[in-house]
């Protein structure tokens, strides 16, 4: 009886002692999961990253304004809407751009980042709704002053559950105009 009590107390002590462990080791594992918003290739020269969150697109400039849908932005969730917007992260070679506009197209084109004559005039846009199960696009409208010179815009694509940004994912989209 006494030994049993002592054993119980000893076990209890060990359990209490384990509470002194400040934290357990972080662990990582891979598991399938639903991806609600995926980037997809659309125009030649466009490609999503391996995760379908990042993407890049290359288009050729012209002296006249040309608009091209370059990447799909698909909401694969059949029941929940998402909201997306773009913001300029960095750029180079803009002096060659007589006109540039990068925007989101969910049936209606909404400009997100704009520039003209080599300077950016709008660095970010407002949220555009991506309806459940919808196929949306990222488009580029551009014209250049001299063909063959490279301009690059690096954009942050933010996809949120709700415009109040309670939860969101930010990934990278690179647009090259040559």
């Amino acid at each position: 009886m006494r030994r049993s009590l002592l054993l119980t107390v000893s076990v209890a002590y060990l359990l209490v002692g384990s509470l002194q462990v400040v934290h357990e080791a972080a662990s990582g594992s891979l598991e399938p999961q639903l991806v609600e918003v995926r980037l997809g290739a659309l125009a030649p020269g466009s490609s999503p990253g391996l995760s379908f969150t990042r993407g890049s697109a290359s288009v050729t400039g012209g002296l006249l304004s040309v608009s091209t849908n370059v990447l799909y932005l698909n909401n694969t969730n059949a029941t929940g809407a998402s909201y997306a917007k773009l913001a300029l992260s960095s750029s180079s070679g803009l002096a060659n751009l007589a006109l540039v506009e990068v925007g989101l197209n969910n049936g209606t084109q909404t400009a997100q980042v704009t520039g003209s004559l080599g300077s950016i005039t709008q660095t970010s846009g407002g949220y555009v709704q991506l309806p459940p199960g919808s196929v949306n696009r990222i488009y580029v409208t551009r014209s250049v002053s001299t063909t063959g010179l490279l301009s690059t815009l690096v954009l942050d694509l933010k996809v949120a559950d709700h415009p109040d940004e309670r939860a969101f994912v930010v990934s990278r989209v690179t647009i090259s105009v040559a």
């Binding site: 006494r2 002592l6 107390v9 000893s10 209890a12 002590y13 209490v16 002692g17 400040v22 934290h23 357990e24 080791a25 972080a26 662990s27 990582g28 594992s29 891979l30 598991e31 399938p32 999961q33 639903l34 991806v35 609600e36 990253g49 391996l50 995760s51 379908f52 969150t53 990042r54 929940g80 559950d161 940004e165 309670r166 939860a167 969101f168 994912v169 930010v170 990934s171 990278r172």
Partner: protein, 179 residues
């Protein structure tokens, strides 16, 4: 002393030694048992965690578990590969004392090479109070918790793209503690 006498004397000595040892062991165990009881019954937590609104975000949070005394929590997150995932108000830190107290949050360091950033941000409304960077060798943050305050904690994870992992994401278990 005859051989039988020596044997009896030796047996007696061993018996005494055994009794003495048992008594010492009992005393030690009884002492440690008292110590264990004291540890569990004294010093109520300075603060506790509660689940925030972000804990129910099924897109990016798989599970949030609080310890029995609510001084630790574990989050299994579902961040996106190749992107920075932010979930606001995953848990809340609530003061249980009538006076301001210094508290410390600690986390396990993350060494997974695909994790580019992993932070817990403690916020008082829009103001950042402290940040625990889990990529540091000893992730921790100490700050004053005012009496009656409730701070929200956001989670931010940036994962690199991994070859062959286009439709998979890493899940993480992490525990914080308020001493």
């Amino acid at each position: 002393m005859t051989g039988r006498g020596k044997l009896l004397a030796l047996s007696g000595a061993l018996l005494l030694l055994g009794v003495a040892t048992w008594g010492a062991v009992e005393a030690a165990l009884q002492w440690s048992s008292s110590s264990a009881v004291v540890q569990t019954s004294v010093a109520p937590p300075v603060a506790h965690f509660e689940k925030g609104d972000g804990a129910s975000n099924s897109r990016y949070v798989k599970q949030v578990t609080l310890s029995d005394n609510r001084t630790r929590f574990m989050v299994v997150a579902k961040p996106r590969l190749g992107a920075e995932t932010t979930v606001k108000d995953v848990v809340r830190l609530v003061s249980d004392r009538p006076t301001d107290r210094l508290v410390t949050l600690k986390a396990a360091p993350i060494t997974n090479g695909h994790v580019e950033a992993f932070t817990w941000t403690v916020k008082n409304g829009p103001t950042t109070v402290a940040t625990v960077d889990s990529l540091q060798p000893s992730p921790a943050a100490a700050f004053a918790l005012p009496a009656g305050a409730t701070y929200k904690i956001d989670l931010k994870v940036t994962l690199a793209e991994g070859a062959g992992s286009s439709e998979a994401a890493a899940s993480f278990s992490l525990v914080l503690e308020v001493p």
